[in-house]
Amino acid sequence: TDLEVTHWWTSGGEAAAVAELAKAFDATGNKWVDGAIAGSGSTARPIMISRITGGDPMAATQFNHGRQAEELVQAGLMRDLTAVAEKGKWKEVIKPVSLLDSCTIDGKIYCAPVNIHSWQWLWLSNEAFQKAGVPVPTNWNEFVAAAPALQKAGLQALALGGQPWQANGLFDTLVIAIGGKELYEKVYKDKDEEAAAGPEMAKIFAAADQARQLAKGSNVQDWNQATNLVLTGKAGGQIMGDWAQGEFQIAGKKAGTDYTCLPGLGLNQVLATGGDAFYFPLLDDEEKSKAQDILAETIVDPKTQVAFNLKKGSVPIRGDVDLAAANDCMKKGIEIISKGNVVTSTDQLVSADTQKQKEDLMSEFFAGTSITPEQAQERFAEIIGSAD
């Protein structure tokens, strides 16, 4: 049966990963009809939602892990996967369990998680530091200290793309890495306005202020263009999620020799686990519904997980798979996750609306010096105070 699957994985590593999914699904005797829409989730999501609400849904669609599809489920537009999940013992195999939590609404499971991504990585270009004549830093503080040397060598210290979500992600990474798990959870999970306005948080904003100084001058938009600056030794480092790994891989760079990765910015080895999941809109067609179940099974299947995540550079959603082929960085990540040093990602903790407000704030903050850290914190606290 032909199933149309929409997603926004169109970059090199992403597309290769999707191909693995398709291959696995096609092997079950069905057919994966690819409906890729480029331009990241913000372009693709409205299209997906319109189609689902318009009564002409695709068979499966990617969403970010979290609350993006909550209302669609509540409106009864999504297929209940509880049966499939029980059959595949998802509750047992999927790690961390929090991933499945966000697929669960009123005790029923509505999505199949496909990978784990974490944001808290600092990617460093060994070549750049070599040029600058300083050793490769081992944590964020060293990086900040080394920055003047880089700049002197005519290099960009920190690469940062212009899109709002990148600034936002960078900030949240600073919260975990510098502020620690507790602060992170106080602010994002408990939505504690006082904490958000407090002195702990002020340190984060000070760090963010530093970061924005270092990022000044990176005239790129897309995240992978920023990664490319690091990759080619034009910039010292970039704070970006583990998907950046895919770019290094495709370019044939080796972790450790060509580039260095520091999870948790080398300060605080905690990762926030977000990721992608597939949702299956309710279809009238009996056969397609069956095929949807098969697709869900395929996605969670260990073999598929390995194949997919190796290409994508992300971590599998189950702990019981063998990732011998994974490179250094990925192994570091898996280790941290299996140790349980994880927090839930902001996508799951706060609504898209709050997330967007944060993005607006961060994007404005990182774009220049028009707002001081103090002002930014004030506004940040407001957003947290009204968050849901």
Partner: protein, 314 residues
């Protein structure tokens, strides 16, 4: 001077009009090719033309370069080695997710969307414009004013209501649905255009046809249509450009197998694989723009004439 006076003596004819030319300026005033007026005129036009051509030049030049050359960074330099690889890639090989058949995939979809959308939207708008101009009835101008205000509503806002309407009609995701969407959003400007044009035609023609016993449709088809070719060309150009380049509706109101070319273009331009393949992007861009461009080249003359023929008379 002597010859002048001899000429002057050959007085002849009716009224003793003295024939022959005196000295001094005579005939056409000689014009220098490089007069100040010409320099300013053609100079300004050429400078303006350069501004308009610069991006086109960049696009063409880039699309003919290989990636290594593009990476050199001089976007204005002509290609050292001309390659058509990017064009081939853009047309037939560029990947979107799993599909690696470039723009070609969307081309026929675009045509399939374009033709009925242009035809239907122009048909509906021209009939409405005709009804507004010639068969004014109570409230017509009110509806028209609403339409004009409608021209200012951002498309995105209307997506939800339209999704709901199409869903209720059961035509969401069909070509019919998409055609209706294009008709809706073409309505305001096109109706304004047609209304003003038909209003500028002599009312007597309409009256004469009514006395001849022709009804609403007969007058429209047999009297008005044959006289309005230019304005139809104008409307066509506007619609072809608009619909061909539309991304939002094309992607929201179709499925992957019927995605128009612009979706592919968006995918090619926005899927970044390592370094952006600018040469392919530019080639894709030029390929996508080709259809409206051809329409312009073919009907450029009619365009201006059409508007001049009364399309803009308020």
């Amino acid at each position: 001077m002597a010859d002048v006076s001899t000429l002057n003596t050959t007085v002849a004819g009716i009224d003793a009009v003295s024939r022959g030319l005196a000295s001094g300026p005579s005939g056409r005033k000689p014009k220098r090719v490089l007069s100040r007026r010409n320099i300013v005129l053609y100079g300004t036009l050429t400078v303006a033309a350069l501004y308009y051509l610069l991006p086109l030049y960049v696009m063409v030049v880039t699309s003919l370069k290989g990636m290594p050359e593009v990476r050199l960074g001089n976007i204005f330099a002509p290609p050292m080695e001309i390659t058509f690889e990017p064009w081939v890639k853009a047309w037939a090989q560029a990947c979107t997710g799993l599909n690696c058949d470039g723009l070609s995939r969307g081309f026929w979809n675009s045509v399939r969307i374009l033709v009925p959308s242009v035809v239907v939207s122009i048909a509906v708008a021209s009939v409405s414009g005709y009804a507004l101009a010639n068969w004014r009835f109570k409230g017509a101008e009110l509806f028209f004013s609403i339409l004009i205000i409608g021209a200012f509503i951002p498309y995105q806002v209307m997506i939800y209501p339209i999704v709901i309407v199409l869903r209720e009609l059961g035509i969401y995701g069909t070509l019919t649905g998409l055609v209706i969407v294009h008709t809706i959003f073409g309505m305001p400007i096109l109706t304004l255009l047609f209304r003003n044009y038909f209003a500028s035609l002599p009312v007597e023609l309409f009256k004469a046809a009514r006395i001849d016993g022709a009804g609403f449709w007969q007058i429209y088809f047999r009297i008005m249509l044959p006289m309005s070719l230019p304005i139809f060309v104008v409307a066509m150009i506007l619609q072809v450009t608009g619909i061909w380049n539309d991304f939002l509706f094309g992607v929201v109101f179709t499925r992957p197998d019927t995605y128009p070319m612009t979706v592919q273009l968006n995918n090619i331009v926005n899927s970044v694989q390592g370094v952006k393949e600018y040469n392919v992007n530019m080639a894709a861009t030029l390929l996508t723009g080709a259809v409206p461009l051809i329409v312009y080249f073919v009907s450029g003359r009619l365009f201006v004439r059409g508007i001049a023929a009364g399309a803009v008379k308020g």
